[in-house]
């Protein structure tokens, strides 16, 4: 039976058509992938199914009955639950509060937290979704937040589950767990619509896949009858090469030396515990590791955004430990921050104003007092060209760009300053293969012009593909080094789990 059928859905934002006469059929008990580039219209389509948007045209059938989904409440009634791309959790609330919000089942006007917590616990046991019912969401990792989102839908008894890019923010282990959970849910008779940019995941977990390009539905294929390359070209509309043409590195003099560095996180718990690291010009060093093992603190410390507790950071033979961010930047550092919306961009500034975020105070943009917006504009147009940032024009607010293009703008800004050390943190999170391909090329180009690159990513595949040397970080220390050409994901996984490196692969 078709639990979900969307016929001829069209949705416009102003003059822009995000969904153009899209058809989607989801069968009961399947995991149905939804694939498309950034901005293709996946989230929009799902938001329509969840009642957040109303389509201009088209019909929706749930369990073969035509329905008008006027809002999330309606969607819940129809058994539709959605895990949103950008988490929909109330930070200062506890896990339990977040789950029962909107469906509190109060007795005598009073919320029975004890009872609620028991129910949440029971549910989490039933599906093996480990959460701490009492924990405050602000204090738990993305993995658990993800599980909370799923529990929210299950608590409401949803049997049609929409997962919008759930894996974009997860570690390999967590992704493994999630896949398990999805299989389990399907066994329980649920149906899942699964959005991801990672073709591997689609191949390994899904039954069928619907591809969307620029708001139009391209095709629905059986996974058993297709492969990654076909999916990719369906999505992008051209052949995509997964192989990077990458010459072996030729390391020169060291650019960055980190010596027994210790940093506390912003709750003052030790995060980096006496870490040593050296990166040479002309090489890309990748850092693999389970999220929360000190990666963020390490980066922020190097950039001067966090004060180290002890240890030394030497950049271009200059001790930059604890210097102000700008001093360090000027010593030759470029930084692609992991959270592009928090650190990377001023969303309400125009693209061009964002392009000069690191250099606005320098010639030719500023004479020390005024800002020469003519020069800024020309420069912005140049970079938009060069890095093909898809934006109506240089004066569009960054907010209106797709994540992929927002990311390209940041990379343009950082790379074009030609820093001798470029730190790239999660540079491709949430981006489609096209964008990823582009970004990887750029990182390697930067290396080949004789600079050092530090790549921090949760995606093992990416780390192994792009880096020349890979260090595994565990509990704030470098647990060991591996050679990406020889290392296997299993080998890495072990190190990431804390076991010592077995000889060989090291510097």
């Amino acid at each position: 039976m078709n639990v979900v059928e969307m016929r001829g859905i069209t949705k416009c934002f102003g003059s822009f058509t995000a969904n153009d006469n899209i058809n989607l059929v989801v069968k009961k008990g399947e995991i149905h992938a939804l694939l498309g580039e950034n901005g293709a219209g996946k989230s929009t389509l799902m938001n329509i199914l969840f009642g957040l948007y109303q389509p201009e045209q088209g019909k929706v059938f749930i369990k073969e009955k035509e329905v008008a989904i006027t809002g999330p409440t309606m969607a819940n009634k129809l058994g539709i639950g959605m895990v949103h791309q950008h988490f929909m959790l109330v930070q200062p609330f506890t896990v339990t509060e977040n789950i029962i919000l909107g469906d509190e089942r109060a007795s005598g006007g009073r919320i029975d937290y004890k009872k609620a917590e028991r129910e949440v616990q029971a549910l989490s046991d039933q599906y093996g979704l480990q959460v701490d019912p009492r924990a405050v969401v602000a204090d738990i990792g993305v993995g658990m937040q993800q599980r909370v989102e799923i529990l929210k839908t299950l608590y409401r008894g949803a049997d049609i589950l929409i997962f919008d890019e759930p894996t974009a923010v997860l570690t390999p282990q967590e992704i493994e767990e999630l896949t398990e959970i999805m299989r389990k849910l399907v066994k329980e008779g649920k149906t899942i619509i699964f959005i991801t940019h990672k073709l591997k995941e689609i191949m390994s977990t899904c039954d069928r896949c619907t591809v969307i390009r620029r708001g139009k539905m391209i095709d629905t294929v059986n996974i058993s009858e297709t492969n990654e390359n076909e999916l990719a070209s369906l999505m992008v509309g051209r052949e995509v090469s997964f192989e990077l043409d990458k010459q072996p590195s030729n390391p020169q003099e060291p650019v960055l030396k980190v010596q027994s560095l210790a940093v506390d996180d912003n709750r003052n718990n030790p995060a980096v515990r006496g870490l040593d690291l050296e990166i040479k010009a002309g090489e890309i060093v990748g850092i693999a590791g389970v999220d929360g093992n000190g990666q963020s603190e390490l980066i922020e410390a190097i950039c001067g955004l966090m004060k180290p507790k002890s240890g030394r950071i030497i950049l271009n033979n200059k001790d930059v430990t604890g210097l102000a961010p700008r001093k360090i930047t000027e010593t030759g550092l470029g930084h692609i921050p992991e959270d592009r919306h928090k650190r990377g961009l001023v969303l309400d500034f125009s693209v061009s104003e964002n392009i000069i975020l690191q250099s606005y105070y320098k010639k030719p943009f500023s004479n020390g007092f005024g800002i020469n917006y003519k020069a800024v504009g020309d420069y912005a147009n140049k970079l938009i060209q060069e890095f093909d940032v898809r934006t109506p024009d240089k004066d569009t607010p960054a907010r209106a760009l797709s994540g992929g293009n927002q990311q390209k703008a940041i990379i343009a800004r950082e790379v074009d300053r030609n820093p001798s050390l470029l730190i790239a943190a999660q540079p491709t999170r949430g981006l489609d293969v096209g964008a990823i391909e582009f970004i990887h090329k750029r990182l390697i180009q930067h290396r080949d012009t004789g600079n050092a690159v530090l790549l921090v990513s949760l995606e093992l595949e990416e780390v192994l593909k792009v880096s020349d040397r890979v260090a595994v970080i565990y509990e704030g220390k470098i647990q060991g080094w591996v050679d990406p050409r020889t290392a296997t994901e299993e080998e890495l996984g072990l190190l990431m789990a804390g076991s010592k490196a077995k000889g060989g692969a090291s510097q």
């Binding site: 928090k342 969303l347 606005y360 020390g368 007092f369």
Partner: protein
Amino acid sequence: MIGKLNRNSTLLSSIISIILGMLVGAIAMLLSGYDPISAYGALFSSVFGSASDMGETLRTITPLIFAGLAVALAFRTGMFNIGVEGQLVIGSLAAAFVGLKLELPPVLHAIVALVVGALAGAIWALIPGLLKAIRGVHEVIVCIMMNWIALFLSNYMVGKVLSNNSDSTEKIHPSASIRVDFLTDMFDGARVHLGLILAILTTIFVYVLLFRTKLGYELRAVGLNPDASEYAGMSVKRNIILSMMISGGIAGLAGAVELLGTSEYLAINPSLPGTGFDGIAVALLGANTPIGVVLSSMLFGGLFNGGSNMQYVAEVPFEVIRIVFAAIILFVAANFVKQLGNRKNRKKKGEKASA
């Protein structure tokens, strides 16, 4: 708490809003048996009427422009400077001090008084700025408290320092006055003074500062996204403090200008002048843009000055004007006209606008 007027409010819709606001006032008058026609007649006749009326209107507008700019500038850096009120009082106090206690050659005396007034306002604003930057104390409380402290300090100084136990000081030395004959004559006798010109210059200053300078770029960046600004090597604290001080400086200047140009003396006051709060309305109605501030000041000043003539001629209680103005603010802020015009279309736009 950054306030922006609804993005898609246009000049036309603003004008319609103003008319709607006056209609509200007219209804209020009719209900209580007054004659709106003659009332508004009186209002306009005094706004555009005789030179001196126009002069007094300009005089009313002057401090509003300063106050509005002060509020707007702070807003741009994410600070809600509800303390313009107090900074203005302190500005007047400082200017009065210079105007009375110092003996200086004409032009210089006035300049010194203005500068000291601005500095005093800046220092008064520095306190909430500092507390916000280093202790994270919410600026709104500190500002509200500083307003009252300013009032009582000023009253104390008037009685015990600037006069001997009198209700008001002597007039400042003529050398410190910024009234000039050519203006006074142009608007036969009205107390228009150089403050008006200063206000226009300050408007240009704020525009250039915000949108043409390095500092302005930083101030706006910090206001929109402190984390990114820090990442880009700006000092968030420094910018917060700076924007409060500049804002306070402008407020202080307003106070000085009022004292040196309009009243020329300082009197004890049982309550705060209110100009600072009017400034909030003016700034927000003007969408925190310098030109917007000037326009809304003109509207505001025109209404309030015309209002007293309306009371004089048509004997309609002055309060009607407050009602009218409130209605206008609401209509503009809610962008009522346009949204009613096409609710459906708005919905889509709405979805595009970001939260």
